[in-house]
Symmetry: C3
Subunit: 354 residues, 3 copies
Amino acid sequence: MTILDERFRKFEMLPNEEKIKCFELNGRLFDMILSQQLNRQVLDDIYKITNRLRTIAKSKAGSVFLQTVLCHKRAMLYFAQPSSRTFLSFENACHILGMKTSEIRDPSVSSEVKGESYDDSLRTFSSYTDLIIIRHKGQNMAERSAWLLNTCTNRPVPVINGGSGSDQHPTQAILDVYTLQRSFEDQGGLEGKTILMCGDLKRGRTVRSLSYLMKNFEGVRIIYAAPKIFQMREDVCSFLERHNIPYVVELEELEKVLPEADAIYMTRIQDEHDEYAGESKKTDSSRFMLKVSHLASLRPNAIIMHPFPRRDEIDVAIDADPRAMYWRQERNGMWSRAALIAYIFNVHQQIMDY
Amino acid sequence: MTILDERFRKFEMLPNEEKIKCFELNGRLFDMILSQQLNRQVLDDIYKITNRLRTIAKSKAGSVFLQTVLCHKRAMLYFAQPSSRTFLSFENACHILGMKTSEIRDPSVSSEVKGESYDDSLRTFSSYTDLIIIRHKGQNMAERSAWLLNTCTNRPVPVINGGSGSDQHPTQAILDVYTLQRSFEDQGGLEGKTILMCGDLKRGRTVRSLSYLMKNFEGVRIIYAAPKIFQMREDVCSFLERHNIPYVVELEELEKVLPEADAIYMTRIQDEHDEYAGESKKTDSSRFMLKVSHLASLRPNAIIMHPFPRRDEIDVAIDADPRAMYWRQERNGMWSRAALIAYIFNVHQQIMDY
Amino acid sequence: MTILDERFRKFEMLPNEEKIKCFELNGRLFDMILSQQLNRQVLDDIYKITNRLRTIAKSKAGSVFLQTVLCHKRAMLYFAQPSSRTFLSFENACHILGMKTSEIRDPSVSSEVKGESYDDSLRTFSSYTDLIIIRHKGQNMAERSAWLLNTCTNRPVPVINGGSGSDQHPTQAILDVYTLQRSFEDQGGLEGKTILMCGDLKRGRTVRSLSYLMKNFEGVRIIYAAPKIFQMREDVCSFLERHNIPYVVELEELEKVLPEADAIYMTRIQDEHDEYAGESKKTDSSRFMLKVSHLASLRPNAIIMHPFPRRDEIDVAIDADPRAMYWRQERNGMWSRAALIAYIFNVHQQIMDY
């Protein structure tokens, strides 16, 4: 236990509202670590920047312009956990803005194998680059990284949490909210819509984050559809109650609640978190899968989302339905991450003005 | 077996001439999947673009110009099989044209480990990038990828086969033909030349492809030199007969036929395809290796080629002989792949006009 | 044993002064292989270029300019040994100068798994790129690479040794000397200073190289602090004697000699070179670690260095002390490597003139 471990332990005990201040610089978002940082203002700003980026990138001239925005900056992608989707999404987001990238995806090539501490590895990345994007199985590693660079060094480079531990994956939350806002743009916005979440609600971090963020959008109603064992945990439910967000629980089958939903957010069973091998398989989840036969009962303007990877929760035959939004949602991830990076470096105004 | 598996199975049964249409867009080459797509027009176009690229790249100004040609595009290299040569060749080809690259070379970092289907992984790559280059041990994976994106999605990005299964490696064929054409430029072209192929003709995909492509060049004659067990298969031989391409078979030793050859194409024994360990070693291949002592019997203008990697089929002392073309052949691979990419994106005219 | 092995064996037996000529082109440094190439002129040139680079890179316009300097060149990083620090340092150095990079960090993805020789792999890299940076556990691999490309091919691309075997790591020596020169810039330079080296002096290649290089700086005095078993070897000591560089040996504890030192160069115990498991642990090294309590006895202008990775030789609480130079030293590595690359390509005058 180093002196840093002790100091970080104290930081860890602070309430989120105070922690968040550590991730700001001059009153602006600097690191993106916790979903709690995503207030309505940040979400709306990123929404606008994302839309602008997509429009500009349609032409070659626009694309060339975007590559000048951060061409003087270098990013480090440290992905100590298997991930191709989030990794590629971030890497291409960096390239869109002209950033050069370095990566470590296989921890066995890193200096940690020679007994280096995580803190020292992290400071090394910060020595060479201007932005660090981290995915780590450790619960608080992104948080610790941002805290370390901001409070213990004189080279604070921004840190983005690309998924750490089982809880926090804020850029997934950003792209999910972006996709909802974008899809309902011509239907009065996300306000007042019914969001149906289905699958492994207990262990899926995306549905948990998304639930928290709904407090930013008035009149949203949530339906949780899952077998009892995979239902949303008490902590999120009581959060919804405190914020007067109505929700209902459906334990028997997805089909019954489909007609009420404006958005259907499907997730896979996260069996890598099973406490023993085969735990998840003991529960029959077949009534919580989306099948072609269900399409008729969906609202005409409903959208179907999925954070991916998918197994069999959504029949691939549904991909051809115009309401299947998940591939566009995935692509939105790249654009909204590029927007976030521009926002963190405070160069988004250049993009808005182009 | 998904609905896509069924549809693809039907596609697979189409004759090549019909398949090829699926890999075109507006009557132009869009995906490069099958060697059968390489007709004389395509080969000649790529030949000219390659030459032009090489000339332009000699100056810094030219090199900077080339990097503007596709600077607004991003490529994905998905190499699920060990390969450094083809990988690096493609990656640098992309960089020559200014493309940004992302890569997956180690499948263990990919989402397939979480149970994602190949189709979904592929669509993910297409969400972020504008070109996908694939190497896969699966027989038809490049073909499936192009088919999937072209017929099942509304984001068809071009796919290039960087070697899939034991059969198809069309960009190797392109660079081999380019090297032959270039080497015989001052000797009346490839027409009328004698090509000697030696080594593992049975299992080597490069010699098979090259044999097929000879139908595009009048008067070419082929010599197959290999022990009986490694000789060219019946399917290629009957193809040559149908197209009136003369060929002879040499079963005893390479040396006897060397004086007749304009090009000597050496290949290694592909023992990774042995049916049991040590199968290849049971056959004495020592009379089918090129040795320094053979150089005297080679024609003065003959060229020596090899697709690499090499083991002991060509003595390293031969590398210093001016007729050793294999290192230039390897480098031609990078340039001709850059030419192919420019051709697929239909920007080659900019290069020709520079 | 190939014909190349025989020729290289002869080369290996040449004295260093003759070898060095093989690594020059037109009388200039071409490959950076051996620390012995680092004479005072080279060190001073790199020192000036490094300083200039750092100044220019402070502005976006300057950073954009630097990226034009070598934007027409492509580098290959072949790191067959785990390394994140040196790898990232070089990769970002390349990016600073606008070079595109390709990499092999995991030898299992390379063609060597198909039985290709190291020589052939190396020539392949040289086919596609304009600079090769190598880290390899083999003793002379960087040396062999430069020798091979310079004497056996007509495509000699420069090679930089990123650490090969247990002996040579010349770019670490460059950054160490740079850090010393920079730190003592306002104190009359490195001349006349006392350098204390502590830790595993026997097996640490950085302290060995640094000792050799001190002959270039008049009046430097060295203190070697380590338990007897980890003390500096005879070969370095007799070198110092031949060059009249005074040194003393401290066997009991670091603390005693701390007050004399202008620079304290700490190193970790290199237990990966233990002859049997646990060998290093049998010796108590605790009196040769730098602790917070020692800070009071350090000179006010002293600097603390470490080549990293660090274990417990330097208490992390010391990181906050203004004399802790190791994080800046690490960052100096990136800048001085960029300077070296510019110097090798003979484009540094552009940088000096900006």
